[in-house]
């Protein structure tokens, strides 16, 4: 990929990201313009989106071959456990990632 193509790729990501952030403000200029259905979606969608993103990150994991998703399962469990116990995002992310790196580098090679 040439430098120009890289710049275009990054700018596309910037454009799409900005679109998602500015869209609501453009569509609903005042609170009176916001339909109740949209407010409802704003309340229920975030939780589903985070679940969606977890699956999205793990979509490439092969259950039938390789390490059968075992390092991923272990690291996800440890991350969730640390988060639930300490509510420290930094600790949870650091701990889960460290375990995953250890597993893929030393155990499941």
């Amino acid at each position: 990929m040439s430098l120009t193509e890289q710049i275009i790729t990054v700018l596309m990501v910037v454009a799409a990201t900005s679109l998602t952030r500015f869209l609501s403000f453009a569509l609903f200029p005042t609170p009176e313009h916001t339909p109740n259905f949209v407010r409802y979606l704003g309340k229920v969608l975030p939780a589903a989106v985070f679940g969606f993103l977890v699956v999205y990150c793990l979509r490439g994991v092969e259950l039938t071959g390789g390490s059968h998703g075992l390092p991923e399962a272990a690291a996800v469990a440890v991350t969730a456990f640390i988060q639930a116990r300490t509510h420290q995002m930094l600790l949870a992310i650091g701990g889960g990632t460290a375990l995953y790196m250890l597993l893929v580098q030393l155990v499941f090679r």
Partner: protein
């Protein structure tokens, strides 16, 4: 920078300065988190063969953690700008709903408003949405500092990671799991905060079902359409128990 909101009963101090003092403590956990993930992102880009200029500029311009990670393999794959646009659109679609939540709060802060919206990442949204801002503190400046500080932490971390990644001699295999861990962490925290789990479970179940049906390359759009359809049709099932006394304005 505009100072259109100098309505405060201003003691000797400028309202911007006082808002900064109030805002900074709120951003401290994000300082730690963004520095770690920012550095990991910079190291990840470095390990993928990019100069530190890339994470520095991408973190500054995109300022959306997950999508920045996802952009790295795109820069190594054949040129496909539409794919880049769609992935960013789909992954960041949740911001549409942050926008809806911030319609009232972010309006009317002059030149700050466009920047507040541009920099509306998960974390800045969360703080600015939930923070109890004292009455004598200018809200516009508070929102502005939270957004700007988080932005700076992220760019700083990514730049440091991109620079020092070249000094790293240890094996970085598996480091990209930090992205997965970030979402597991957010998901877990949301799960513990919510009273009912229908929405979280629907997100996981629909994603998994579509992944099995369409496979990892094709399942994104069907998943989001299905999530939207399920919420649209199952409104009475998913509608959250009325808990917030805030929105009585309609």
């Amino acid at each position: 920078m505009s100072t259109e909101t100098t309505n405060s009963t201003s003691p000797s101090m400028h309202p911007a300065w006082r808002a900064l003092q109030t805002a900074f403590p709120y951003t401290m956990p994000i300082f730690a988190g963004f520095l770690l993930i920012g550095i990991a992102y910079g190291v990840f880009m470095n390990a993928s063969g990019f100069s530190f200029i890339y994470p520095a500029l991408m973190s500054l311009l995109i300022f959306a953690g997950s999508v920045e990670f996802l952009t790295v393999p795109m820069l190594l794959a054949p040129f496909n700008p539409l794919h880049a646009f769609l992935v960013a659109l789909i992954v960041n679609a949740r911001h549409i709903f942050y926008g809806i939540s911030m319609l009232e709060k972010y309006r009317g802060h002059g030149l700050k408003t466009p920047y507040l919206i541009y920099g509306m990442c998960d974390e800045s949204f969360s703080i600015n949405f939930t923070a109890k801002i004292p009455a004598d503190i200018d809200k516009g400046w508070f929102f502005f500092w939270v957004t700007l500080l988080n932005h700076l932490y992220w760019v700083g971390g990514a730049t440091v990671g991109g620079l020092c990644g070249s000094l790293l001699t240890f094996d970085t295999r598996g480091l990209d799991f930090v992205l997965t861990a970030m979402f597991v962490s957010i998901f877990t925290e949301q799960w513990l905060l919510e009273e009912r789990h229908q929405s979280s479970l629907a997100g996981i179940a629909i994603s998994l079902l579509c992944l099995m049906l369409w496979g990892p390359e094709q399942y994104l759009v069907p998943t989001l359409l299905a999530i939207f359809a399920v919420f649209a049709l199952g409104r009475h099932y998913f509608a959250p128990a009325r808990k917030e006394p805030e929105h009585v304005t309609d």
